[in-house]
Symmetry: C2
Subunit: 327 residues, 2 copies
């Protein structure tokens, strides 16, 4: 297994990708890594780690993509970026997968254009792991396709089901269509048609509503990328909001030092439910390759988990199963 790691992506490069990579490497003897990015940066950072040098390569990519670069601009003007170079190496079978904490749009564009779509897939999609009270649900589409057709919803449901089973280890994942009411006739014409089409799936639960997201009513939340993006960012804002309102309440209640410590410990325990590190990365499903992206702020642990998820995608033949499922 060879995984290429973007060593020039995210808010904390090259430190976090390299530390996460080395941790994954030291955990798994069958793993080989290619760090992609400016060679001098990588070499310098690697020198402070101890690891099996035979299983690590460096692939030079001098251009650095920022989080604000537009996807199309990156492909045109930064041809030697870690994303372009890494995904091209994947295309040339020099590695089995590519992971990055960098620019999502740029990685999606590079993955789609350079690797191409899997046979029969209408559109690649982003499947985000969404923490709920019940565990982890998969939000598909999390922002790749702002507008969908019923056939795309159906394919996303199938691809999400395979990812949930094979990578998130959910036995019989249920699919819920995000809508404005539970009944089949709710929503726009598009949603009614989609509901009808999805009813052919064994694991279609039916419509779910905004109130069913945090409770994790289904294992897969199916929605268009517009709504998915709003839901995802809304969800991610909850811990920060909570910190602020709890802080206010702590002040108003004039708690003792000891009580305050207990409250903040409780808050941090509570927030474990919303810890994105557990899941690491977000896959692009439907592309002819394995490509995962993580939060810009990904910790070394998140990057390690991302590498492991990529590795599992290869081992479990997720793409082969997707092709069988959509054709």
């Amino acid at each position: 297994m060879v995984i290429a790691v973007d060593a020039a992506g995210g808010d904390f490069y090259p430190e976090n990708p390299i530390q996460g990579g080395i941790e994954a490497l030291n955990d798994d003897d069958s793993l080989n890594l290619i760090f992609v990015g400016p060679e001098d940066l990588i070499t310098k950072e690697l020198s402070s780690h101890s690891y099996d040098e035979n299983r690590v390569q460096v692939l030079h990519a001098p251009d650095v993509v920022t989080m604000n670069d537009s996807a199309s601009a990156v492909l045109k003007s930064k041809k030697q970026s870690s994303i372009s170079v890494g995904i091209s190496a994947h295309k040339e079978d020099k590695c089995d997968a590519f992971v990055s904490a960098g620019n999502t749009g740029a990685l999606l564009a590079a993955s789609t254009i350079i690797l191409g779509k899997l046979q029969g897939v209408l559109r690649p999609t982003i499947a985000a792991s969404f923490p709920t009270v019940r565990g982890i649900s998969l939000l598909v589409d999390a922002g790749a396709n702002l507008e969908l057709k019923p056939e795309m919803y159906l394919q996303f449901a199938k691809m999400g089901t395979i990812y949930s089973k094979e990578i998130l280890n959910i036995d019989n994942p249920t699919v819920g269509l995000v809508n404005v009411g539970e009944e089949a006739e709710k929503g726009t014409e598009l949603h009614k048609e989609t509901h009808k089409l999805l009813s052919n799936l064994d694991n279609f639960y039916g419509n779910i509503e905004g109130k069913d997201i945090l409770t994790g009513k289904t294992d897969i939340f199916l929605t268009d990328g517009f709504n998915g993006n709003v839901i995802l960012k809304f969800g991610e804002s909850i811990p920060g909001m909570l910190k602020e309102v709890v802080g206010k309440a702590v002040k108003e209640m004039e708690l003792t030092e000891k009580e305050q410590q207990m409250v903040y410990k409780l808050l941090s325990e509570t927030m474990q439910a919303f810890n994105y590190e557990r899941v690491g990365g977000v896959p692009f499903l439907g592309i002819d390759g394995v490509s995962l992206v993580g939060h810009g702020g990904s910790s070394p642990t998140a990057l390690k988990n991302m590498i492991n998820a990529a590795s599992e995608c290869v081992k479990q033949r997720v793409n082969e199963k997707i092709v069988n499922s959509v054709n």
Copy 2:
């Protein structure tokens, strides 16, 4: 001022509408109320309250609308419901406004069909008060129109601005367009066009994202009714989710009885920020009348606040200002 109150709507009728109504009545000498619903129910409930009988009327409406009745069915088969009878009384100028904790869809349909739209208004909209860390923002459209055109977004922005100023007492309310990114060129073609059109407004902030909702980045969150409905229900589910995860953390941390009491007091203080009672009801903006709806579970306080908001809509001539603004 004469306000008609649906005494047969919501989960706790006739108790809550009548108690809330009597509280509002006893607070304001210039207020007159008409309770609409099954006469015997209302008369019996009123007998346990003390109030100025000269300022209270009962309007008999034997049919009871449930929360599950479809809007169109109500108008056809339950012509003598409190909603139909109350809105018809409003149409005949027997009252200045109608408030209900009942079926939102049925009230919207009755309001639109019986009262009609204000001159120049393309579509009536639901404007929901949304609790944020900063206070209250207005979510428009909260579910009335699942799909919008740019001109409708513009009108909703104008109507929301008037309601925010006149009823929520926000001096210079800002309007944010809910989108998948901050930049003007983000989103679908529809969102790009809408952004352009909104740029003519003095109080247009620009695009906002899912992460900007709970922080209350703008005073008005402008979105279509599909996305608005999902956001609203997602937001309303946060307190319940919090109770569950805090409960789990409390167990795991094995807190003492006293510590637990403190934590639950803190939780309830924290949740004050998300207390929907503060705002009471949600107006239908753009109809030729004043019609507000509240949560099915509305408390007497919520109903009292809803009556006061309706009264303010009349006093502040919200509809006259809307007509001037959209034409």
